[in-house]
């Protein structure tokens, strides 16, 4: 689905990432960990075409990212659900419209949209907050709404950047269980996090591969967790 081979990324002041090789096969579950500033978010952005690698090859759904035009990137993103740490929303639109935004931009009809939305809001426990504006939501509600928006089109891959960064432990476990459930439905999951407790909790539920960015390179980090 998404494959990085010998990828380097340079912000202009030296390499942030170097010799990164990563393959995300269908229905796999990955954690990406490492200290703040190690390049976790950058690696995720490379995976959904937000950034282009300075060297190496990034293939997104069998297309070379550097050769994709802007429309091709947009179409690929409809197959990738992204959850950001800061959960960006359109603050002037109610939650239900924000969650339904991926359906709106992909031109789905109103009936299927409404059905999907109601099911999904119920699944993430936000039915009663459907008409609320994003600024009035709590951190946990925003995280759940961001997850709902990321999965509403039933994407093949879900990339989550610190999805539990702003929520308490109980809510973290709830979000994790949602992601585990999605993985069991065949979705590929990659979660960037520095929350080792979350990773330990997930490993008891799903066969997850844990990767760590250290000294600009990607390592398998399962043994010490």
């Amino acid at each position: 689905m998404i494959e990085l081979r010998d990828v380097a990324y340079n912000y202009g002041g030296g390499d942030l990432l170097s010799e990164i090789t990563l393959k995300l096969p269908p229905a796999s579950f990955h954690f990406l960990t490492g200290p703040s500033g190690a390049g976790k978010s950058t690696l995720l952005k490379l995976c959904y075409g937000e950034l282009l690698a300075s060297a190496g090859s990034v293939r997104i759904f069998d297309q070379e990212a550097s050769e994709m035009d802007r429309d091709a990137v947009a179409l690929a993103r409809r197959r990738i659900g992204v959850v950001h740490q800061d959960c960006q929303f359109l603050d002037h639109l109610p939650l239900v419209e924000n969650v339904g935004l991926p359906l709106t931009v992909s031109g789905r009809d109103a009936a299927s949209k409404a059905e999907n939305l109601q099911d999904l809001l119920s699944w993430v426990g936000l039915t009663d907050r459907a008409r609320a504006l994003p600024p009035s939501l709590s951190g946990g509600e925003r995280q759940r709404a961001a997850l709902a928006r990321a999965i509403i089109t039933s994407p093949d891959v879900i990339l989550a950047d610190e999805p539990t960064g702003n929520v308490d432990w109980e809510m973290s476990l709830r979000l994790l269980s949602l992601l585990v459930e999605l993985n069991k439905m065949g979705k590929t999951i990659l979660i960037a996090t520095h929350d080792l407790n979350l990773i330990r909790s997930a490993k008891s539920q799903v066969n997850a591969r844990v990767l760590r960015i250290k000294n600009r390179r990607l390592q398998l980090a399962g043994a010490d967790l």
Binding site: L90, D91, L93, P102, S106
Partner: protein
């Protein structure tokens, strides 16, 4: 052509929900409506000026083309004989359709604007005028002057050319100036909309990032801005156009025979021309916003 029509059609069709992704912009929306209204108002006046100048040039051209005047200045006892001789020369000159001496009443009517209605023309030493109408081919003015000087010593041929040409040229230039003004107003409207669209896009960078994140194509995002700016420009231009048309309708009567100032308006079907201005303004806004939006989207994300 079909491609452009498809782009225009796509710009105004699709999911109206896409309009809602851009938040309301408050007073800046009214600035676009006001500015496009003012531009349309000026454009209608420029159009009226251009059409009036065009009518004037056409009228002068039509009235003065193919007509000439022969003036007989001779002692009173010879006027009749020289007039007869001149008409004889004129009617036998190739390229002249007709020639006739003006009556005293007609000559008095020509002088009336300067000397008044009660002019005793018979008591004044006024030259006899002969009206000459040319055929389509026209005549050799220099050859006719030579013949007249040889056969009618008191005759002087005035073919109107020396003063007709600069007047028609001036009217033509005024018409061109009016059309050029409309072009400038159109470009200024496009520039104004581009600036406003750029500002709106920059102010909504966060929204654009979210839209791109969820898989929106550039044309989808641009459409939301394009529709909004195009509709505001159309509304403003429509108001400005109607206002200007009312103002022009209230000007003194614009008749085909009126002078330039009283003729500054629209006549007959010309009243339909200003209705194109809001449409052209909307098209200019559409292209300006679309170009600005697609360019800015590439830069922002």
């Amino acid at each position: 052509m079909k491609r452009w029509l498809d782009i225009l059609k796509a710009g105004f069709s699709g999911d109206p929900q896409s309009d809602r992704v851009v938040p309301p912009t408050g007073y800046s929306a009214w600035l676009i409506v006001f500015t496009s209204g003012a531009m349309a108002f000026l454009a209608v006046f420029a159009l009226a000026l251009s059409l009036a100048a065009g009518r004037l040039a056409d009228r002068w051209g039509a009235e003065l083309a193919r007509t000439s005047t022969v003036r007989i200045s001779a002692p009173e006892s010879q006027v009749a004989a020289q007039t007869k001789a001149a008409i004889n020369v004129l009617t036998t000159t190739p390229g002249i359709a007709s020639a006739r001496a003006l009556t005293q009443d007609e000559q008095a009517a020509l002088l009336e604007p300067w000397l008044g209605a009660d002019l005793p023309i018979g008591s004044l030493p006024i030259p006899q005028l002969i009206e000459v109408v040319e055929t389509d081919r026209g005549y050799d003015a220099e050859g006719l002057r030579l013949r007249l000087s040889a056969e009618v010593p008191g005759a002087f041929l005035d073919d109107h050319t020396r003063w007709r040409r600069p007047l028609i040229s001036a009217a033509d230039r005024l018409r061109s100036l009016g059309l050029f003004s409309i072009l400038l107003i159109g470009l200024a409207t496009g520039a104004m909309v581009t600036l406003a669209a750029n500002a709106a896009l920059a102010a909504n960078a966060q929204i654009i990032r979210v839209m791109r994140l969820v898989g929106a194509r550039d044309v989808y995002i641009a459409r939301a801005f394009v529709r909004r700016f195009t509709m505001r420009t159309l509304a403003g231009a429509a108001i400005g156009t109607i206002g200007a048309m009312v103002a022009i309708a209230l000007l003194p009567t614009a008749s085909a025979n009126g002078g330039f100032l009283t003729g500054l308006g629209f006549v007959g079907a010309h009243w339909l021309w200003p209705l194109l201005i809001p449409i052209l303004a909307a098209v200019a806004a559409f292209w300006a916003t679309r170009t600005a939006a697609l360019r800015t989207l590439k830069r922002l994300t």
